[in-house]
């Protein structure tokens, strides 16, 4: 890194961004592994319905399959955006 590079404000290094993104996607994909075959389709249909009624960012929707005491639990969590100001 030269003097000029040093003066330029450097954004967060790209390797740590890569690591964070991988951690999330790998955990998500491991979670769906061994689950029922319809899970990916169910996931995308659920997302379609949520997008139809709300304006949430797709990244704010978490769909997870958990195994608890011999049972599969499908967990859906949606962080709704704050209320937008009423139309005038």
């Amino acid at each position: 890194m030269g003097l000029l590079d040093f003066l330029r404000a450097k954004p967060r290094n790209s390797a740590s961004v890569a690591k964070d993104r991988l951690r999330i996607i790998v955990a998500q994909e491991r979670n769906g592994r061994g689950g029922p075959d319809y899970l990916p389709l169910l996931r995308s249909e659920l997302l379609t319905v949520i997008m139809k009624y709300t304006k949430v960012d797709i990244e704010a929707v978490h769909i997870e399959l958990d195994h608890e005491g011999g049972q599969d639990v499908l967990e859906l969590s949606v962080t709704l955006p704050e209320h937008s100001p009423p139309a005038r």
Binding site: L3, N13, S14, A15, A18, L22, I25, V26, R30, R33
Partner: protein, 270 residues
């Protein structure tokens, strides 16, 4: 006892064939009887990397279809007497590769007292990749320090534990080693490449070997000589270490340090 080792990755172009060639060569250098099989039906390439492309008469599919015997199809390496190559077919018909056919070939290699069979998997997760890993006793998963390769290798690790004979028997699947190739210590130091620790953490597995990105990998493939034969190549030496670690030898990781830059370069860049 014959041990079947699959070299796989999911993603293409990460160094599976280079790794298969050097791994097979390294095992043969230790006086083991080794066969290395190209499972990439339709896209034969291992023969080029091993430097025997002009000696291919019969291939893997010919043996499965009983158009040739295994003995006729195995090509003996020019440099090592105990190393044999079984080339992939150039046929476009991927259906030609069958589970029974693969099993028969592997059984015959067992009867011929091969110590190791290296299965060089094609990219992807289709038939060729599935059959390359299905009968394996051990896996070498080749990963590049790059997001798509790491994600794909995690997927492959999942398949190794479920969609293999060991996995179906419920004994935990195929034990896997991770090998990182095309590693740039400089880029890691600058924070622009995933480090070994990052990859270990994401995959939850320790790394068996690191092969640095090095020009010698290209020159070796140009010449058709597996890079492990080159004693001046860092990549070759790293492969040699990797083979030693498979036998439980304690070899510290090498070639991970960043060469020091001169003061001038550090101040002015470059």
């Amino acid at each position: 006892m014959t041990e079947i080792i699959v070299v796989t990755s999911g993603k293409g172009g990460v160094g599976k064939t280079t790794t298969s060639a050097s791994l097979a060569t390294g095992l043969a250098q230790r006086n083991h009887k080794v066969a290395v099989i190209d499972f990439d039906i339709g896209l034969r390439n291992l023969d080029l990397i091993m430097g025997c492309e002009r000696r291919v008469v019969y291939d893997f599919i010919n043996v499965i279809h009983k158009e040739a015997t295994l003995k006729q199809a195995l090509i003996r390496d020019k440099r090592l007497d105990s190393l044999y190559i079984l080339a992939a077919s150039q046929t476009r018909d991927k259906e030609a590769l069958t589970q029974d056919g693969v099993e028969q070939v592997l059984d015959e290699l067992r009867q011929d007292e091969f110590d190791y069979v290296i299965c060089d998997s094609p990219a992807g997760i289709e038939r060729g990749a599935h059959l390359a890993m299905y009968f394996a006793d051990r896996a070498v998963v080749v990963v590049n320090p790059e997001v798509s390769s790491v994600r794909d290798s995690d997927r492959i690790l999942g398949l190794l534990s479920s969609k293999t004979r060991h996995g179906e028997r419920g004994d935990g699947g195929v034990p896997a080693h991770v090998v990182v190739t095309r590693y740039h210590p400089e880029k890691v130091a600058e924070g622009d490449m995933l480090s070994l620790e990052d990859i270990e953490e994401i995959l939850g597995l320790s790394i068996l070997g690191v092969i640095p990105e090095h020009d010698s990998v290209l020159t070796s493939s140009n010449q058709g000589i597996p890079v492990i034969h080159n004693p001046d190549s860092h990549a070759g030496l790293a492969y040699e270490d990797l083979v030693a670690r498979l036998f439980g030898e304690d070899r510290p990781m090498r070639f991970l340090d960043v060469p020091r830059k001169s003061l001038l370069k550090r101040v002015f860049g470059g």
